[in-house]
Amino acid sequence: MIEDTRSINTTATLLLLAGCAFVLAPLVFVVITATQSYGDFLRNNFSLVPGTHFFENLQQVWELTLLPRQTFNSFVVAFVSAFGRCFLAFTTAYAVVFFAPRYSIFIYAAVLASIMLPLDLMVIPAYQVAANVAMPINAVANLGGAWETLFGAPLDLQLNLLNTYAGAAIPLMAQGTGTLIMVQYFKTLPVDLAKAATLDGASPLRFMVDILLPLSKGPLLSLFIYLFIGGWVAYMWPLVSISSPDMQTAVVGLTALDSGMGEDEIPNFPLQMAGAIMVTAIPLVLIALTQRLIVRGLVLSEK
């Protein structure tokens, strides 16, 4: 830096220490509490002295709760939604950036509009759609009683996605951030690559698979991790769309862990915190290991 800034740097260091402490403190409390037995906890209340029952608590969570199964559900939902969003973002961005027809601008606008309103704001109607995806087909077929006149009864197709992995994951894909990021990336690629591939005899689809896909590995990977974590921590939509506990995701399952207890009973906080560790471990390890990719993903989504 430019001038002698020791006092400023000291302040900055203190601020950063405070920030890190603020972020870490809850996590530390979680881990410490998870090491205590329910009995100890009732006796001592909140304590910063670690206990020795960490593995016991984990074992209890593993054997007595649905969290292991729900963690698997979370993995499936997060993976499918992130993979799907990357796929959709890739093909759509390719269509928008590399093709001349003017209507692709409208496609892009239609995708961008979806960024404005997150799914959480429209769970009520989205729930209705998921309850019967064939609804719009029915509605069109029954317009003015057309189907009834032709076949005697109104068309009533049923395709219920509630309580399924598809129903949990696909609506999470209806969001255009990924496309926006891939469009920004594709715009930085030289158009000559497409020209060279064309002269080499590659069709547009072949160019997409042979050239564009390998070139997008980096951005796609960070986008995938970013979206995977986003799918993992999603709360409202799984809560609404999944009603059976063994299909539920872990994040929702964790909040229900203490619900079996009466108002006056003290929840088994050590068990709950052990559950919190189980729910958070996978994304936290992912973030710790792929620090740089995540940061790149975050920065990409800014533009």
Binding site: P190, D192, K195, A196, A197, T198, L199, D200, D210, K217
Partner: protein, 354 residues
């Protein structure tokens, strides 16, 4: 890989390109002989890249015909036109090895692996990259990348090689080396070559013939020598040569052409003419036209000056070093009559008295 027996000429017949009703190329006819190295030269926006892309099939033709050999190709997809192209930024596939880059076209075409390997090796040898086949483009220098791009083009044994400003990203020294390499490469493989550039040095050194383009129209299509010595119009005269030719408004009357009263040469025409005189043809002499040296620059091998005649007309001139002239001095210059170029003052076209 020896000289290609099947090089083919290119014939452009009334070729047109229009972008949303704006004509970029209003109608262009030219014949490029088989095996000839043609350089398309012009300022940016003159339509030269569009012309090249149309020949390659990367842009649709709005009208007219493109013939390669005896085939009409304007409606044939690029890969079937028998041509290959070297791009400005090389356009190498960054995720593929040098060998895969060179062989991608063969792979797409379904050439069997053995034949592919030997053809890749042969093409790489032509550009001296035989030892680099396993590298990624990012591990190569700029010049080496350029050679990969060339190998990728020649591996398909094209009848026509197209170059889209391939040297503009290299530094000056490398550009010079690559020019020589390209030149000898062309002699060896003999494909009809079309080379687009805005750099007149590249054009003068590489071309069998230069096609000078401005606003989508051919200004002159001739050998470098004729382009330099017999520019067809003021645009060509001003575009070729460094420093550029002096173009002076002059009046012809009574069998002589003069600038602001100073007689330059004898002529048969009369009226307003534009007189062109190359800076390097103006000599500083003991006697002659008195001029005032407004500005002088030493460039080592020679020096350039801007001088001002008594009537206010400024001229650029280039001289050998050695004349102890400083800025602000008065000197005399002589303009050799036989080195003058005359152009129609209204149209800019060359007036040929001979």
């Amino acid at each position: 890989m020896t000289a290609l027996a099947h090089a083919a000429g290119i014939h452009l017949v009334d070729l047109q390109k229009t972008y949303s009703k704006t004509p970029v190329i209003p109608g262009l006819t030219a014949d490029l002989a088989s095996g000839e190295f043609t350089v398309i030269l012009g300022p940016s926006g003159c339509g030269k890249s569009t012309l090249l892309n149309m020949i390659a099939g990367l842009e649709k033709v709005s009208g007219g015909k493109i013939m390669i050999g005896s085939r009409e190709v304007q409606d044939i997809p690029p890969k079937d036109r028998g041509l290959a192209m070297v791009f400005q930024n090389y356009a190498l596939y960054p995720h593929m090895s040098v060998a895969d880059n060179i062989g991608y076209a063969l792979k797409v075409a379904g050439v069997p692996k053995d034949e592919r390997t030997s053809r890749i090796q042969a093409a790489a040898n032509v550009v001296n990259l035989g030892d680099y086949l396993d590298r990624r483009p990012s591990e190569l220098s700029g010049g080496q990348r350029q050679r990969v791009a060339i190998a990728r083009a020649i591996v398909r044994e094209p009848q026509v090689l197209l170059f889209d400003e391939p040297l503009s990203n290299l530094d000056a020294k490398l550009r010079h080396d690559m020019r020589m390499e390209l030149s000898s490469l062309h002699r060896r493989i003999g494909a009809t070559s079309v080379f687009v550039t805005h750099d007149q040095v590249e054009a003068m050194t590489l071309a069998d013939r230069i096609l000078i383009l401005n606003h989508g129209r051919i200004q002159q299509f001739d050998t470098p020598n004729n382009i330099y010595h017999k520019p067809a119009n003021t645009f060509v005269a001003g575009f070729i040569g460094s420093p550029p030719m002096n173009l002076v408004e002059a009046q012809a009357s009574n069998g002589a052409v003069s600038v602001g009263g100073v007689r330059l040469a004898a002529t048969e025409t009369s009226g307003d003419v534009t007189v062109g005189i190359r800076p390097e043809h103006i000599k500083v002499t003991e006697s002659g036209i008195p001029v005032h040296v407004a500005y002088r620059e030493d460039l080592g091998s020679h020096s350039t000056m801007v001088v001002e005649m008594e009537n206010g007309q400024t001229l650029r001139l280039a001289t050998q070093l050695g004349e102890p002239i400083r800025g602000g001095e008065w000197v005399h210059i002589t303009i050799p009559e036989d080195k003058l170029h005359f152009f129609d003052a209204a149209t800019g076209d060359a007036l040929r008295s001979d």
